[in-house]
């Protein structure tokens, strides 16, 4: 079992770049969609809120796998254009997690004390400046911990891309598995676990850094969470 480890390791590691690429691309799209849809959910205009609500409920309420199949298999038949597997994967990961992220953004914006909003009104700041300069910077501090969760979930969801033959970690493992014995299978799945764990820890570490910086900007000490 141990003799095969280096071989298995190098074969699976070749799947890491697509996994990382899908994760990073998915996170980037998630952040953009979360911000746009989340702010739309707190808009003063009912129509804007409604459009965003439909987006959130649709992508949150339908299966990620089915969404992937739609974009990968159905959409090309409809528009006559095949999107590359990795691109389709990033699109689905972003659309799906952006729906969850929008709720995080909405909740965090709502959680900023009303008094802050009123303080900004009293200075005659425009609605856009009130949001951008006063409310959002404070809301971001509240958003980061739940976004860490969301990003880690997104990382793990990249395994779904094996279903549309993206050459990522899980797909490469599946290519090996059929011809191997129990010992090697165990090794493969163990290595896969470790790869995801390491990547998740990297995300956590990066987000911790952001959390500390954001908390310092609003004058909080993150370790205790108590204002000084």
């Amino acid at each position: 079992m141990l003799d095969s480890l280096p071989l298995i390791l190098s074969f699976l590691m070749a799947g890491v770049p697509p996994t990382v690429l899908a994760t990073v691309g998915g996170i980037a799209l998630t952040v953009v969609l979360s911000a746009v849809a989340g702010l739309a959910l707190v808009s003063r205009h009912r129509a804007v809120r409604a459009v965003s609500r439909v987006y959130v409920e649709f992508f949150r309420g339908t299966s990620e796998v089915v969404q992937l199949f739609w974009i990968f298999f159905v959409l090309p038949a409809l528009v006559g254009y095949q999107i590359i597997p990795l691109g389709a994967g990033i699109l689905v990961l972003g659309l799906n997690h952006g729906a969850y992220g929008a709720e995080i953004v909405r909740g965090a914006v709502r959680a900023v004390p009303r008094a802050q909003h009123e303080g900004a009104v009293a200075l005659s700041l425009s609605p856009w400046d009130r949001m951008r300069r006063v409310v959002l910077p404070q809301a971001v501090v509240e958003m980061l911990p739940p976004f860490t969760n969301l990003f880690i979930q997104l990382l793990k969801s990249t395994a779904l891309l094996s279903l549309v033959v993206v050459d990522e970690v899980v797909r490469r493992g599946q290519l090996l598995v059929p011809n191997l014995g129990v010992g090697e299978k165990l090794t493969i799945y163990l290595v896969e676990l470790v790869i995801y764990l390491v990547l998740a820890l990297l995300i956590t570490a990066g987000m911790r850094l952001l959390e500390r910086r954001a908390a310092a900007r609003v004058g909080r000490v993150p370790a205790t969470g108590v204002a000084t």
Binding site: A115, V121, L125, S126, V134, V218
Partner: protein, 259 residues
């Protein structure tokens, strides 16, 4: 020649759900006048300030500030409820200081003071910074300019909040129980500062407070509110020492007993 009052409420009604907060309220405050609003909680005094700040809307009646409608605007010759842009334009002349300071924790003291002057009044950063430094000097916090609001005491935060309101060069300043959240030993410093602002500027000041002593020597006029109406209106010496209305007498006795 009586000039147009700075603030005029005419027949203002305001209710929250079933409870009537202001009922057919008429009110006029002259330019430069210092008026203190007293009354039991729920009597509508804070609502008056919040209506002026457009944090609430009138249910009926009108509000004018500096001769212009605040609650309403003219559109095709008709008086219609004001939109956000119109309110913001008229409200620009009004500053407000809150009980809980409401400083922005994501900005330094300087950031708090220059944010609105640069964005709303269009001052350059340098001009706004100069103005901020002068004001911080006046409130005795010049050395805290780069400090974070969270690192200041309540009294210091409230003085920064006063400087922030003044940085907009308001014609009207609204003070909403601004010493109520402060430790007793910090109250005197804030009140001293207000007296100095009252003496050295011609800003019209509308103030809600339970500091009867301060109301007496700061105000030109005191209004006693109860049940959404002004039930007594007079100079502080008369109203606070020899109130005519039994309700005022009762209220003052209760406030003075509480300390």
């Amino acid at each position: 020649m009586p000039a147009e009052p700075m603030i005029v409420f005419e027949g203002v009604h305001k209710r929250f759900g079933d409870s009537v907060v202001l009922s057919d309220l008429d009110l006029a405050v002259d330019p430069g006048e210092h008026v203190t609003l007293i009354g039991p909680s729920g009597s509508g005094k804070t609502t008056i300030l919040r209506l002026l700040m457009c944090l609430e809307r009138v249910d009926a009646g009108t509000i004018r500030v500096g001769g212009r409608y605040l609650s309403h605007m003219h559109r095709r010759g008709e008086l219609v409820p004001a939109d956000e842009k119109h309110s913001r334009d008229v409200r620009r002349r009004i500053g407000m200081v809150f009980q809980q300071f409401n400083l922005f924790p994501n900005m330094s003291v300087l950031g708090n003071l220059i944010e609105a002057p640069t964005r709303v009044l269009g001052l350059s950063r340098a001009e706004a910074t100069e103005r901020a430094a002068e004001l911080l000097d006046m409130v005795g916090l010049a050395e805290k300019i780069d400090e974070h609001p969270a690192r200041l005491s309540g009294g210091q935060q409230q003085r920064v909040a006063i400087a922030r309101a003044l940085a907009m060069r308001p014609d009207v300043l609204l003070l909403d129980e601004i010493t109520s959240a402060l430790d007793p030993e910090l109250v005197a410093g804030v009140l001293r500062l207000l007296r100095r602002i009252g003496d050295t500027t011609d800003i019209t000041i509308l103030c809600v407070t339970h500091e009867i002593g301060f109301a007496r020597d700061f105000s030109d006029r005191v209004l006693m509110l109860d049940g959404g109406r002004v039930i007594e209106d007079g100079p502080p010496d008369q109203l606070l020492r020899e109130p005519r209305q039994p309700r005022t007498k009762e209220f003052l006795a209760a406030v003075l007993e509480g300390r």
